[in-house]
């Protein structure tokens, strides 16, 4: 989706707001949103790509206005209701619907150390052949999907070279919409800064973008 979240290369967003000795969370509620998202993800009703998409579909003006954890909270509500863990009526009332079954949380405090080692696991140990070789010239496809994608606009149509092959990973464009994992190779693709931005970029500089087979074509 060509949304506001895809902001690589945009200009005039203002100076970087650097905070010295920044706390991990700026308010207690931020830490609770963070933890609630991690804990409810243990129900495995959604994946990280789906979560990212909940933030991308925020109207642009709201995406820019909302703080990071406000975006998370809004995405968490969307997933909880959309994936059937909580009803909209329960969010409104703040109490479980009459007669609803009380569940047993899958993530308890004692399981957290193990859960942390169990990471995202987006890589897949399946024998999918790579479509490209290290060193090969490739062009990022000029595609404009209306759903979730991890091919940033600034790279589309540009020529780069395969720097390394990272192996097989789930494909975000389908995974985010619960349409299957479509596992395929991911590569670091090196684009010369001048290929992306023209003569104003420094001659030696480059940008590495991690891209899936489906985003690439031979150049």
């Amino acid at each position: 989706m060509n949304g506001i979240h895809d902001m690589g290369g945009m200009q005039d967003m203002g100076p970087i707001q650097y905070e010295k000795d920044e706390p991990v969370f700026h308010a207690q509620w931020e830490s609770r949103v963070f933890a609630m998202f991690a804990a409810t993800s243990a129900w495995r009703r959604w994946n990280l790509d789906a979560f990212r998409h909940t933030r991308e579909v925020l109207p642009p003006i709201e995406y820019l206005r909302a703080s990071y954890y406000e975006q998370w909270f809004s995405g968490l509500l969307e997933l909880l209701v959309g994936r059937g863990l909580v009803t909209a009526a329960e969010i409104e009332s703040g109490v479980p619907a009459p007669g609803s079954v009380i569940a047993t949380p899958p993530l308890t405090a004692d399981k957290i150390p193990a859960a942390l080692t169990n990471r995202i696991h987006a890589n897949r140990d399946v024998p999918v052949p790579p479509q490209f070789k290290v060193g090969q010239q490739v062009r990022a496809r000029n595609i404009n999907p209306v759903g979730h994608t991890r091919l940033p606009r600034y790279a589309r149509g540009k020529i780069g070279s395969i720097d390394r092959d990272h192996g097989v990973f789930v494909f975000p464009d389908t995974n985010a919409h619960f349409l299957g994992e479509k596992p395929q190779h991911v590569y670091s693709v090196c684009f010369a800064a001048r290929e992306l931005w023209g003569a104003q970029a420094a001659a030696k500089d480059c940008v590495y973008v991690d891209l899936w087979d489906d985003y690439l074509e031979p150049a």
């Binding site: 690589g8 967003m13 707001q17 609770r32 209701v81 909209a88 990471r119 990973f169 500089d205």
Partner: protein, 233 residues
Amino acid sequence: MSTTRRDFLTVAAATAGAAITPELTHMHQHEHEHQAVPSDPALRVKALESLLVEKGLVDRAALDALVDTYEHKIGPRNGARVVARAWVDPAYKARLLANANDAIAEFGYVSKQGDRMLVIENTARVHNVIVCTLCSCYPWPVLGLPPVWYKSAPYRSRVVIDPRGVLREFGLELPEDIEVRVWDSTAELRYLVLPERPAGTERLSEEELAELVTRDAMVGVAKVVPPPAEGKI
């Protein structure tokens, strides 16, 4: 977008003191007329937590433990120890560059986010800097949760098109003959910059070296600065 979400964001926008569109104004008034849920973000988050606990969807002690883990246990000190070890132990550095996951696991550092870690080395000729232009991907196991500037529009938008200008804003001026490599974390690979060991640190221990390594240097927006020379204040 659900009504609940829109209500929340309306409140968020109002809290930020932003101008409200006619549609949002309507939603805002609607909420005041039938205020079933507290409007303050903190109260709304608290209400959701109570609901999730009551439904048995989350364990409150697990939430406390998750917050404690990321506030106190997983942060840039982890990465600093990895960097210092790589500086003093060439065999460790070789393992780190070849297979970062296994080399980082030697310290016992694991965390969500960091499906596949990659360590990229700064040299006299190459300077690396990391970003996630599309969201906020960051190497949690070694740096903890990202600072606000890393997740914000100014950094995400500009570091790919004008890395040298962004680095200058952080106080880092790079000569023209240095190659700047920007790594955009668009997939589930997480990057950590291995900064250059500063000159004049030959006599420092691994622990003392780790003290010098900053989060910003491991993101690539700063260099590691040597300690003041002995005998000087």
